[in-house]
């Protein structure tokens, strides 16, 4: 009796242990579609992630996989924890030897930034490759959700994605019927570059009720001349700058007092890191951008 009870307990224990193992043994692989429309399957959640663009690093951290990142590329400066991670070179020229020695079990790559040959080489070495390139706000939210599945941190990821989605939807709601303001967004000063409507920043301008004066140009980041800006005569000029607090690009426009934006003092600085990378920080950048345009609206 005693003996059989002990045997029973042992059997129950064994069964329980088997049951506990079962999910790992029986679980289907984690399969997620990436931004190159390929299905990427992992047998188990990624434990060692190589994040090969500064934007991807931000997204992986937002998705709750930050602790599993083992390699980043140069200029991965956000969140601050990313700065301490080992860098494997610049995004366009990876140090493959260093990268492989860190033994990643997942590489988040940037199709238009990383070198195609190096991505191929990574695949040849058996590292699963996940293409990530969000092209609109919804793409950013989905990127967070998909990365969260790969790193098995769905709870964090879902919350971050929802927070971002809700924030952007509130902005869209708030500025849906706003009076249009014509806008010139300056990406760089020499050569003078702007964005078109398809660019993420162009989409944010539209969301805030702005009308990008160079919306129709064919290239996403066209190079233009000052004359075209004077002829378009925007009501507001938004600019990033070299570094986070450098406003001299804006003061240069004061040389043209005929511009509406200069007359109404609608020259606004938007920190480039908040809008120029497709990351959750775009929400904060979009709020700033919308507020700037609202100020411009009020000054009319």
């Amino acid at each position: 009796m005693d003996l059989s009870f002990a045997r029973l307990r042992r059997r129950v224990g064994l069964a329980a242990a088997l049951l506990g193992l079962a999910p790992a043994l029986l679980a289907a692989p984690i399969c997620v579609i990436d931004d190159a429309q390929r299905e990427v399957c992992l047998q188990a959640p990624a434990q060692r992630i190589a994040s090969l663009s500064p934007g991807a690093t931000e997204l992986v951290f937002a998705a709750g996989g930050g602790e599993r990142v083992v390699a980043v590329v140069a200029f991965s400066d956000y969140p601050p924890a990313a700065r301490a991670l080992p860098s494997v070179g610049s995004h366009s020229r990876l140090d493959l030897e260093r990268l492989l020695s860190l033994q990643p079990d997942l590489a988040i790559v940037w199709g238009s930034g990383n070198s195609a040959e190096q991505i191929d080489a990574l695949e040849d070495f058996g590292v699963p490759v996940f293409y990530l390139e969000p092209e609109n706000p919804e793409g950013i939210a989905q990127a967070i959700e998909r990365l969260a599945r790969l790193s098995d941190s769905q709870a964090v990821g879902r919350q971050a994605a929802e927070h971002f989605r809700r924030g952007m939807a509130e902005l869209a709601e708030q500025y849906r019927d706003a009076e249009p303001v014509t806008v010139f967004y300056q990406v760089w000063n020499k050569p003078l570059m702007t964005v078109n409507d398809a660019h993420l920043i162009g989409q944010v301008i539209r969301l805030c009720g702005g009308r990008n004066v160079f919306a129709e140009l064919p290239r996403q980041i066209p190079r233009i001349d000052i004359e075209a800006v004077l002829a378009a005569n925007p009501q507001a000029i938004l600019a990033g700058g070299m570094g986070e607090e450098n406003r001299y690009w804006l003061t240069e426009w004061r040389a043209y007092p005929g511009l509406q934006a200069v007359q109404q003092d609608n020259l606004f600085f938007i920190p480039p890191s908040l809008v120029q990378r497709p990351t959750p920080r775009l929400l904060e950048g979009s709020r700033l951008l919308c507020e700037s345009l609202e100020t411009a609206r009020a000054r009319r």
Partner: protein
């Protein structure tokens, strides 16, 4: 006897008389090219508007467009083109090498290194130009010092020194491009390709172009003799060494100012002097002033196309100078066989 005298007279007066005609004609073409350049751009202004604005009427926007944007840029293009063509012609005489151009001795490499360093440090505007000029000056002194050295000095020694120093600059430029953050790259690449949107004020370049053209006029005969070879020149009483060093320094100064105002625009300095030689013969008294005007015309036209072909988007002017210059040059070369 009498007939022979007139022939000699005609031969003496010939180049000078044709110089007058030639310069008159080229000046007219230059004025036409500049008018065209000022009349077109990414915002549509009619020729009537442009003429009205030039004569002091026109709206504020039109005045800004013409007087603050198009006219300074057109004049800069003209001056830069002229400087490069004259510098190229001088280098070809100095080195007695048809492949010589203003950049052959590494001057643009020095200037580019200076400019890119300034851009890498996040500086802009005047500091980039100043740094480029300092780099060009350093490159000139370096080649001058190294080629001078001890022992005998020859154009081929100068050429070799210059070419090797130029490769050194090239390596430094590639290194800087390789380690630069991605967002700084477009600015750097456009500077390297040559781009007149960096030009600030045309007056120093125009002043230098005029000054040097006048200064070179009396030197034309000595340059003609030098082009045939230093021994012949020395035998004919030309002070070869001082003349060669002055040419080197003048050409360097011209190139430095051109590179400083518009980056390294290729092709003008190589092709314009050759084109004019094919058309006019190798008389430096004609070639040098004609270079000043023709180089200017080529660059004004090229820059007008660069600004307007896919306006409001902009192309680098260096691409256009090559696209215009290559077929023209090949045609002339083919015809002259």
């Amino acid at each position: 006897m009498h007939a022979a005298e007139t022939a000699t007279d005609r031969r003496r007066a010939g180049p000078l008389r044709s110089l007058g005609w030639l310069l008159g004609l080229l000046t007219l073409v230059a004025l036409g090219a500049m008018t065209l350049s000022v009349s077109v751009g990414s915002s549509a202004l009619s020729l009537v508007d442009v003429l009205a604005t030039l004569s002091g009427q026109g709206s504020e926007l039109q005045r800004t467009l013409i007087f603050e944007l198009r006219l300074p840029r057109t004049l800069s293009a003209f001056a830069t083109g002229g400087l490069l063509a004259v510098a190229g012609a001088l280098m070809q005489v100095l080195l007695r090498n048809p492949l010589a151009d203003p950049y052959v001795l590494g001057l643009s490499g020095g200037a580019a290194t200076g400019a890119l360093l300034a851009m890498l440090a996040g500086l802009g505007g005047v500091l980039v130009s100043g740094s480029a000029f300092a780099g060009a000056f350093l490159a000139t002194l370096l080649v001058f010092g190294l080629a001078h050295g001890s022992g005998s000095w020859t154009p081929s020694r100068l050429l070799l020194t210059g070419v090797v120093v130029a490769s050194g600059w090239g390596a430094i430029i590639t290194l800087m491009l390789a380690v630069s953050p991605a967002e700084r790259l477009p600015g750097m690449l456009y500077w390297l390709m040559g781009d007149l949107s960096y030009a600030r004020t045309p007056w120093p370049a125009l002043g230098l172009l005029l000054g040097v053209s006048l200064l070179l006029l009396p030197l034309g005969r000595s340059l003609n003799v030098l082009a045939r070879g230093p021994l012949q020149a020395a035998a004919l009483g030309v002070a070869v060494r001082p003349l060669e060093w002055s040419i080197y320094l003048i050409a360097s100064l011209l190139t430095a100012l051109a590179v400083t105002s518009a980056g390294s625009i290729g092709f003008v300095g190589l092709v314009v002097p050759h084109m004019l030689r094919l058309l006019l013969g190798n008389d430096q008294r004609l070639i040098l002033p004609a270079c000043a005007l023709s180089g200017g015309i080529l660059l004004v036209l090229a820059d007008t196309l660069a600004r307007t072909l896919i306006a409001p988007e902009q192309l680098p002017v260096g691409v256009i100078t090559a696209l215009l210059g290559v077929p023209t040059f090949l045609y002339l070369l083919h015809r002259s066989r």
